[in-house]
């Protein structure tokens, strides 16, 4: 899993590439914790190159979304595909975490 981030239009814009599984998800969680600890509140994450996510990844995303909610922050995800999109839908995550077809439409929400 590869995470990259930049600041863009008042948000932290990240891309997560590769796989979020039981081994790599803790790294994502840690990264998010650090950024939130630094006071960052708005995140847009491009998942167009995320090939795979397991329950471990879903848990990390849920924990991050919950943390942000208590700080009146926002987590927006964009460009989910294939099995990642499928997993989000069947687990009901697509109703609780805002999901967009493109990075631009996510930014348009801010």
């Amino acid at each position: 899993m590869e995470i990259s981030k930049t600041r863009e239009r008042n948000a932290v814009f990240m891309t997560v590439k590769g796989r979020m599984d039981a081994v790599s998800s803790p790294e994502f969680e840690k990264e998010m914790e650090e950024l939130i600890g630094q006071g960052e509140k708005t995140f847009i994450i491009d998942l167009s190159n995320l090939d795979y996510i397991s329950s471990a990844g879903l848990r990390s995303i849920l924990m991050t979304a919950k943390k942000l909610k208590t700080r009146e922050g926002k987590l927006l995800l964009s460009s989910l595909k294939d099995v990642v999109k499928e997993v989000f839908e069947i687990s009901g995550f697509s109703s609780i975490i805002p999901i967009y077809d493109s990075v631009e439409s996510a930014f348009a929400e801010l």
Binding site: D21, A22, Y52, S55, L58, V83, E86, I90
Partner: protein, 136 residues
């Protein structure tokens, strides 16, 4: 048929999933189906070391991949941990809950059930045998 035996530790997850994915790829399954199979396998493997081996620390898991008579892919996970039937874990009951109410755990077994066509458990002597069946 492919067979792999590894200590049930997180560090072996990637090796295990690669072995399963290679087998499925060889048999011509679509890449989406292969990801679904890897997902179910990961969740089953993680549950084995969280539950079956929770008392003794760790042990080995054997994973056998084979094709059935109607070209379904069969994955069997065999461990020698305490009796642990995955079917006794229930699905989350809060799939429709809002963000604050949604509980953190419980999705592993649920995802297995959603990805497979059939899941069967049996206990044979000192072994847990979990069989996951995937149609193309």
């Amino acid at each position: 048929m492919s067979k792999i035996r590894l200590p049930a530790r997180l560090e072996n997850l990637e090796k295990l999933l690669q072995s399963v994915a290679s087998f499925a790829e060889e048999k011509g399954l679509s890449s989406k189906r292969i990801r679904e199979i890897e997902l179910a396998t990961e969740e089953a493997f993680v549950n084995i070391f969280n539950y079956a081996y929770s008392e003794q620390g760790t042990g080995e898991v054997e994973i056998d991949c084979s094709m059935g008579e109607t070209f379904e892919l069969i994955i069997q996970l065999i461990d020698t941990g305490i009796p642990f039937d995955i079917a006794t874990l229930s699905d989350p009951d809060d799939l429709d809950a809002g963000l604050s109410e949604r509980k953190i755990g419980g999705l592993g077994v649920f995802l297995i059930r959603k990805m497979v066509d059939e899941v069967q458990y049996r206990r044979e002597g000192d072994k847990n045998i979990l069989t996951l069946t995937f149609r193309k």
